[in-house]
């Protein structure tokens, strides 16, 4: 029974909760047990707060019994949070040693929104340090394994949140996406992940990486569940001055459930296929899955035209100036004065150098160095201002296509399926290329969603849909239509191939697997 509960989609859980067939406490216990059993082999969770989760579940059960007419669909549903989202009284490490021991004195805006909805917070998930990485191997708390193949990465930086959902430890989770950190791990673990329009979700109470790019978004195993989670967390918050006064559409809660009704959503839609996203080096079999998905979209009545986003090839260089520059400023606050450990026993400068030199991991130091250099005297115009100008061109590429009437763009989420531990750790540029198909979307501030579209040699492939600003309802409708079209595909009901192994406490940890591979 317990195992069955974790296999339900969130909307199925909501139906059973309202029918009185199950309680939030039962759902919560089932997921807490799954997380506890599977975490040794996956390392998806940094903390699980069982007592607090059960208290929240009991409160949700009381609200359900009282029969609140306007209750949110998330009432009583368990959810996992990436460990850079503040939850009052709990840790918030952002995957870094420099925040070890920090206890958040307040709730993030989205934490408040989830509490209002009545969702049950199970715990905090592993991530690349300060959300910098595409494999989750840059966590100070060890790598996360992908349940499809335990010797491969889950993607990053929201790897723990993706795996928690893919491995049935939670039906829903929250990630952040600065250059692909929701969509790429969603693709690599075979689930749904959305980066909303910049400004859709308040960033108050999340640990900042690159403030003009960061957005918070949902992971789920189902398009409707992801839309409901976005509905719960979206909306204006005056504590984040970039959160936009744009209404949150209730359509997000009304996506069609019926297969035929959903598939109609593709009829007459005009989709663009940006040729530059089929990057050199893209795996041929992954590319075939995308082509098959495009054929299915056309079969359901959409027109798909090849289009060009001519500045795509400059995205990587632009992103790796803008994001590190913003990060180097944001991460100046980790100085050992107000929070975190203070290292060194000398003067103020000696303490700074020791605290930051030992507190940050290699990727974070690399990006702080890049950003500091790009902003330093004599290089600011050549690098930072130049990158901001190219950013304008990247954004105009998208604007031009949407002005021509395209409803959305269809593209791969990632050039490859999940790769082995260590495969890209020695070459930062190779790792950065993992986000070649996702980071232009952040540069332009647009919404993008990754949905599963099949397997390549047994590993999940993600299809990305990109829309104009504030088009999340349309993207979810298109994604739901594709999901409905492929409801009977054999890969749909396939569970991650090595999921069963994760219940075995004798299995190596992800860190042990990674070091064994490094020795081999």
């Amino acid at each position: 029974m317990t195992a069955d509960l974790t296999r339900l989609k969130a909307h199925e859980m909501a139906d059973r909760l309202r029918a009185g067939e199950v309680t939030s406490r039962e759902l919560t216990e089932a997921h807490l047990d799954a997380a506890k059993a599977g975490n040794h082999a996956l390392n998806a969770w940094l903390t699980v707060d069982r007592d607090e989760a059960l208290r929240e579940a009991d409160a949700a059960d009381a609200r359900l019994r009282a029969g609140e007419p306007a209750a949110h669909p998330l009432l009583g549903i368990p959810v996992a949070l990436k460990d850079l989202i503040s939850v009052r009284g709990g840790q918030c490490t952002a995957g870094s040693r420099i925040l070890e021991g920090y206890i958040s004195p307040f709730d993030a805006h989205i934490t408040e929104r989830l509490r209002d909805a009545g969702a049950v917070i199970l715990g905090k998930t592993n991530m690349d340090e300060f959300a910098m990485g595409s494999s989750n191997e840059h966590s100070a708390y060890g790598p996360v394994a992908n349940p499809w193949d335990l010797e491969t990465v889950p993607g990053g930086s929201s790897g723990g949140s993706a795996v928690a959902v893919a491995a049935f430890h939670a039906p829903l989770s929250i990630g952040t996406d600065t250059g692909g950190s929701i969509r790429q791990p969603a693709a690599l673990t075979g689930i749904v992940g959305m980066k909303p329009t910049y400004g859709r979700v308040s960033r108050y109470g999340i640990v900042a990486f690159a403030s003009s790019l960061d957005q918070i978004g949902p992971f789920a195993r189902d398009v409707r569940d992801a839309a409901a989670l976005l509905h719960a967390i979206a909306g204006r918050d005056e504590r984040d001055s970039t959160s936009a006064p744009v209404p949150v559409p209730d359509e997000l809660l009304r996506l069609p459930s019926g297969i035929d009704e959903a598939a109609v959503g593709l009829r007459g839609k005009r989709l663009g296929l940006p040729k530059e996203y089929f990057v050199a080096g893209m795996e041929p079999d992954a590319r075939r899955r995308i082509e098959e998905a495009v054929a299915a979209l056309e079969g359901a009545g959409a027109t798909v035209e090849e289009v060009s986003l001519p500045h795509t090839d400059y995205g990587l260089a632009t992103y790796y100036i803008v994001a590190p520059a913003e990060a180097s400023a944001n991460l100046a606050r980790y100085d050992g004065i107000r929070f975190g450990p203070r290292l060194g026993d000398g003067d103020v400068m000696g303490n700074y150098l020791a605290t930051r030199g030992r507190g940050f991991g290699p990727e974070v130091k690399r990006r702080i160095m890049l950003g500091t250099y790009a902003l330093s005297a004599g290089y600011y115009d050549a690098f930072y201002v130049k990158a901001q100008k190219v950013r304008t061109l990247i954004k105009r590429d998208f604007d031009t296509l949407f002005e021509q009437g395209f409803d959305a763009l269809v593209a791969p989420t990632s050039p490859s399926v999940a790769f082995r531990f260590g495969a890209k750790m020695a070459d930062p540029v190779a790792m950065y290329l993992s986000d070649a198909c996702t980071l232009p979307v952040n540069m332009a501030g647009l919404p993008g969603i990754s949905i599963p579209c099949g397997l390549s040699e047994g590993m999940p492939v993600g299809l990305q849909l990109i829309g104009p600003a504030w088009s999340e309802p349309r993207l979810f409708q298109l994604a739901r239509a594709y999901e409905a079209l492929t409801a009977d595909a054999p890969w749909r009901d396939q569970e991650p191939a090595q999921l069963a192994l994760t219940a075995d406490p004798g299995q190596p940890t992800p860190a042990e697997r990674a070091s064994a591979l490094a020795r081999a």
Binding site: I103, T242, A317, Y320, F339, L353, K365, Y373, L393
Partner: protein, 100 residues
Amino acid sequence: MSGLSRSDVEHVAHLARLGLTDDELTLLQGQLNHILEQYAKLAEIPTDDIPPTAQTIELENILREDVVTPSLPVDEVLQNAPHAAGGYIVVPAILGGGDE
């Protein structure tokens, strides 16, 4: 664009207040130069007439009422400080003092 020398890397590390080991400086010099080579590509694009983008959504200034709202409790905030006393965060002296 010439590459970063060892002393450039040391200078940037100092600006960033990162205490790095010799091995880290050596590794970073190679890696940063490799990444900077990717940047060179941007020089291909003429951008003289292109305005820079810092913000992608067009929001004008949004003002709020100037009213007092509660701040975080001082004792809870100070619990995170590595060294606090008497309601303050304690830091090493930054000015030359009388004991020199």
